[in-house]
Amino acid sequence: MLAVTELRLVGSPEPDDLRGAETAVYPDWEAVYEDNVVGIYQLVFRRVGNAADAEDLAAEVLMQTLKTLRLPAPVHNVRAYLVKTARTVLADHWRRHYAAQDAAAELQQVPPDALISPHNSAAAERAERLLSLLPDNFRRILELRFLRGYSVREAANELGVTESNARVLQFRALRKAADLGLEVLT
């Protein structure tokens, strides 16, 4: 599998350690950083949707972890800690910038094993699955916008509705998608 190949390139932890992930240990910060910086970036990117915020938040998660983590520590403990820190940092982001009081509840849906999941980069597949669960008009507006990159005006033309209606349709479609379960997108 690709996974094993990639991990061998990194050198630490060794693939053998990962098979016995219960006992694998990060000896130092270098190993923690190498192994998780991209995963943390992806995890936060999927919850803010843009590179500028993702970069700030990923740096913040690593910074907080760097300050508090005592090493050596078991790999799964460190990852659980990183994910927990990411949740806090994300909740704080939504609270500070969008006055969201209850974002924390939404973010509880970041699964504790988010950094280990082999499906970590299958965002496209998950989005597709979620789209397929939506009613036709909701699915179409989201496909036009997010997959084809249409502007609201272009999407409205395509759907034969006003721009204002297209915005309302998009809003409802996104809320419906959120209702159907963010876990599909984790």
């Binding site: 690709l2 996974a3 190949t5 990639e6 991990l7 390139l9 130092d28 910060w29 950083y33 190498e34 998780n36 910086v37 991209v38 970036y41 990117f45 999927r46 949707g49 843009n50 500028a52 993702a54 970069e55 690593l62 910074m63 760097l66 939504w94 910038h97 969008y98 006055a99 969201a100 009081q101 974002a103 939404e106 082999p118 970590n120 980069s121 965002a123 496209a124 597949e125 998950r126 989005a127 597709e128 979620l130 916008r145 997010f146 997959l147 084809r148 990159g149 502007s151 609201v152 204002s164 915005r167 309302v168 998009q170 809003f171 996104l174 809320r175 959120a178 209702d179 963010l182 997108l185």
Partner: protein, 228 residues
């Protein structure tokens, strides 16, 4: 001017789709829900959620700066070690070359290794989409284009137009055309691909897969790619 929740969320989505940091505002619970879903969909674009080398560089720089300000941290980590870390930073758990997954979803086996041939991306529901005017791409040049779900590189090799994925098959870094060398360089791990997508060299223990090819054609004066 009055803004409805739908307007504010639409603006948020616009910012995401244009790769901008979204504007801040006081949002209702419903708006936050919708925006979170939008963030998930915006990440679905192939390679969108992978950091650029520049972003990793800056993250690393911030951590290094924090270490400078706080010598006590040296108990856990020396600055030199962190600097050493950077060369291989884009590593490990990312795995899953995003384009491999696209290929797999289309029912094709992912390519294993650089000598294993190339995948051609023929997405279901794809369509020919103009990406550039032929006048923008003189012979002997390659250019990066972005369309639909794909970052691609279009090549004009002596008048013959072709296209490959613009994302390195190793860790998803964006490739940079090197026209004089007739190759596409990955800035992350000193890997390079030829204009046909074939791996030229790599500084990894195993060869990354060749770049998937993207069907291309010239229609009038437009270069078109077959993409979702």
């Amino acid at each position: 001017m009055t803004d409805s929740p739908a307007d504010r969320v639409a603006r948020f989505v616009d910012d995401l789709l244009h790769g901008r940091r979204p504007r801040r505002f006081d949002a209702s619970h419903e708006e936050v829900e919708a925006m979170t879903a939008a963030a998930g969909f915006a990440s679905a674009r192939v390679g969108a959620d992978l950091p650029s080398k520049a972003a990793l560089d800056r993250i690393h720089g911030r951590l290094a700066a924090a270490l400078d300000e706080s010598p006590a941290l040296d108990r856990h980590v020396t600055r030199r070690m962190l600097l050493r870390t950077f060369g291989t930073a884009a590593a490990a758990m990312v795995i899953g070359v995003a384009l491999d997954e696209v290929a797999t979803r289309q029912g094709k086996a992912p390519v294993q290794g650089g000598d294993g041939g190339s995948t051609v991306l023929m997405p279901d529901g794809g369509a020919w989409k103009p990406v550039a005017s032929i006048t923008q791409l003189p012979a002997g040049h390659a250019m990066t284009v972005s369309t639909g779900a794909i970052d691609a590189i279009v090549v004009n090799d002596g008048g013959s137009i072709s296209a490959v994925s613009g994302i390195c098959t190793h860790l998803g870094c964006k490739l940079q055309p090197d026209d004089p060398g007739k190759k596409l360089d990955c800035p992350c791990h000193q890997t390079a691909f030829g204009w046909t997508g074939k791996v030229l060299y790599y500084r990894l223990k195993t060869s990354p897969p060749n770049l998937p090819q993207i069907p291309s054609r010239v229609n009038g004066d437009q270069i078109e790619l077959f993409v979702v």
